[in-house]
């Protein structure tokens, strides 16, 4: 077993060797600019780009012409949200999203607010999912765009996007879906979910960083105001010379996900459940944050009550995970995603996100279970809160003096 152990697959994934091999020729021998129409260097690059476009489209049930290459999902989210809101602003200036969205969507929405748009930020249920009825109730005559993610990056909770798509389609409102955490792991089909715009990222599915795509529906046609002006690449949606090696890598990663995704999901889910059961067998006062049934296979977001998340991460320093604890950010605020689900601040501070993926092994999972059980027990022995609770003190009844 290799130490350190990587269990942060939501943050990023390693490039699959097969993806890397597909990419390598496009750095040196096949270095042409895909926009060079006058010679073979350009033609071969373009051919590779279009083959990759087919692959990415196939993975999400789209046609190749509906895929626009970007530099990553943050750019895709910006282009979709700002581009659609701005293009359709004569129809209305009301937008709807959800409080647990990725910052790339939330901050794009905030930027639009400063441009005079009105945005409704919907609450989620305790299990982290959006109730489609809540969405339906928020729609207005002047609503033009709804942006709801497929799976959440912190909790792995999967929204009922097909029901959401029915609501938006019936209301004649565009539906943008940040599908970064779901695609390649669980089925995602733009037709089944009536998605009009979808953000995709290569590095979350064993492709390279700095490579993304935006699905833009053609029937009925969705139009956008470009956010990057220039040479008019990507049918004017996104100017800039194409990242050919990155695109080739994305295409290969999509192909692998299409061919192997279902089997991989099954294997990763079994490992995730092995981890969850192992932790629950070894520790009390452990809560899974968000719906277990509606969750991507590789995610386990848990709170270890009375143990602070960053302290636990330091204790298991040979395991790469992340935490919703404030101590991992400069803001001193715990995870807004967990807070929006109604999880108390102290449990948000105690949360750890385990992300399992393609290269996770059962041996690694067993090692992590042993380590976490041991370290949580040690930190609880050191925790005044755990001591008080064991002595029968109700912590909610204490007036905490001197709060920082």
């Amino acid at each position: 077993m290799k130490i350190p152990i990587y269990m942060d697959y939501h943050a990023t994934t390693p490039v699959d060797r097969r993806v890397l091999e597909a990419m390598l020729p496009y750095f040196s021998e096949e270095f042409g600019n895909a926009a060079s129409k006058s010679h073979a260097f350009g033609w071969r690059a373009e051919e590779a780009v279009e083959a990759a476009r087919e692959e990415v489209a196939k993975l999400v049930g789209a046609s190749a012409k509906e895929i626009v290459w970007t530099s990553g999902a943050t750019e895709s989210d910006n282009l979709a949200v700002k581009g659609a809101a701005q293009f359709y602003q004569s129809k209305g200036k009301h937008l709807v999203t959800c409080k647990t969205e990725h910052k790339a969507v939330l901050d794009s929405m905030h930027a639009l607010e400063r441009q005079g748009f009105e945005v409704t930020f919907l609450d989620v249920e305790k299990d982290g999912r959006l109730d489609p009825a809540r969405l339906a109730a928020a729609l207005r005559k002047d609503t033009t765009l709804v942006s709801i993610m497929h799976a959440n990056n912190e909790t792995g909770v999967v929204h009922p996007i097909e029901e959401i798509g029915r609501v938006t389609r019936a209301a004649g409102v565009l539906f943008h879906c940040d599908a970064v955490q779901g695609v390649g792991k669980i089925p995602f089909d733009v037709e089944k979910a009536n998605v009009d715009l979808a953000s995709l990222s290569a590095h979350k599915m064993y492709g390279p960083k700095g490579m993304g795509a935006l699905y833009v529906r053609r029937k009925p046609r969705v139009r956008l105001v470009a956010q990057m002006d220039g040479g008019g690449h990507e049918r004017g949606f996104r100017s800039g010379t194409l990242n050919v090696p990155g695109i080739v890598g994305f295409g290969k990663a999509a192909e692998l996900a299409r061919l192997e995704g279902a089997a991989e999901a099954e294997r990763v889910l079994a490992l995730r459940e092995r981890l969850r059961r192992g932790l629950q067998a070894g520790l009390d006062l452990l809560t899974v944050n968000g719906s277990l049934a509606h969750r991507v296979p590789g995610n386990l977001n848990v709170s270890f009550a009375y143990v602070e998340g960053e302290a636990l991460m330091m204790a298991i320093k040979d395991v790469a995970v992340s935490s919703g604890s404030a101590c991992t950010s400069a803001s001193l605020e715990p995870s807004y995603v967990l807070r929006a689900m109604g999880i108390s601040e102290d449990l948000a501070h105690s949360s750890i996100r385990f992300g399992l993926g393609r290269f996770t092994t059962a041996e690694e999972v067993d090692h992590v279970i042993r380590l976490v059980v041991e370290k949580v027990a040690k930190l609880r022995e050191m925790s005044p809160l755990y001591e008080m609770v064991k002595d029968g003190v109700d912590l909610s009844q204490i007036e905490w003096a001197n709060p920082h």
Partner: protein, 153 residues
């Protein structure tokens, strides 16, 4: 975030973890912070008849810096008189452990814990507290100004 060796040593081998009998008249208990903020420190001191801190124990819910800060102050207060212990400043703790700016509040909490423990002991002995544990507002203001703390935290 890179932590100093001293901090890691105190985190990995914390000194004086445990509890003293909070009902013992010679024991002063300070409990500072709040679970919602991600930091709670309990510091206990046992004070001899001549006002010397003979023993100190801590338990902390918090990040590695909070645990290390409380471990350090238990070492520092032992053998000091209560008056000497009150001269320990958060900046001493922050400098000793080389705390990064976002972790300065951990050292503030450690200083508060000493003050709260001494005040509790003084109260048990019918003395007026030398320093009220909530009088570190000046330091908080400085932290707010530097953007280390956000208002409302």
């Amino acid at each position: 975030m890179a932590y100093s060796e001293k901090l890691l040593d105190h985190y990995e081998n914390p000194r004086n973890v445990g509890s003293l009998d909070k009902n013992d008249p010679d024991v002063g208990t300070g409990l500072v912070g709040a679970p919602a903020c991600g930091d709670v420190m309990k510091l206990q001191i046992r004070v001899s008849d001549d006002g010397v801190i003979e023993d100190a124990k801590f338990k902390t819910f918090g990040c590695g810096s909070a645990i290390a800060s409380s471990s350090l102050v238990t070492e520092w207060v032992k053998g000091k008189t209560v008056d000497e212990a009150l001269t320990i400043k958060n900046t001493d703790v922050a400098n000793e452990l080389n705390l990064p700016p976002v972790k300065i509040h951990c050292s503030v909490l450690a200083e508060d814990a000493i003050k709260a423990a001494v005040a509790d002991w003084q109260k048990k002995h019918g003395m007026a507290p030398t320093v009220k544990p909530d009088t570190v507002q000046g330091d908080r203001a400085a932290l707010l100004e530097r953007g280390v703390l956000k208002s409302g935290i």
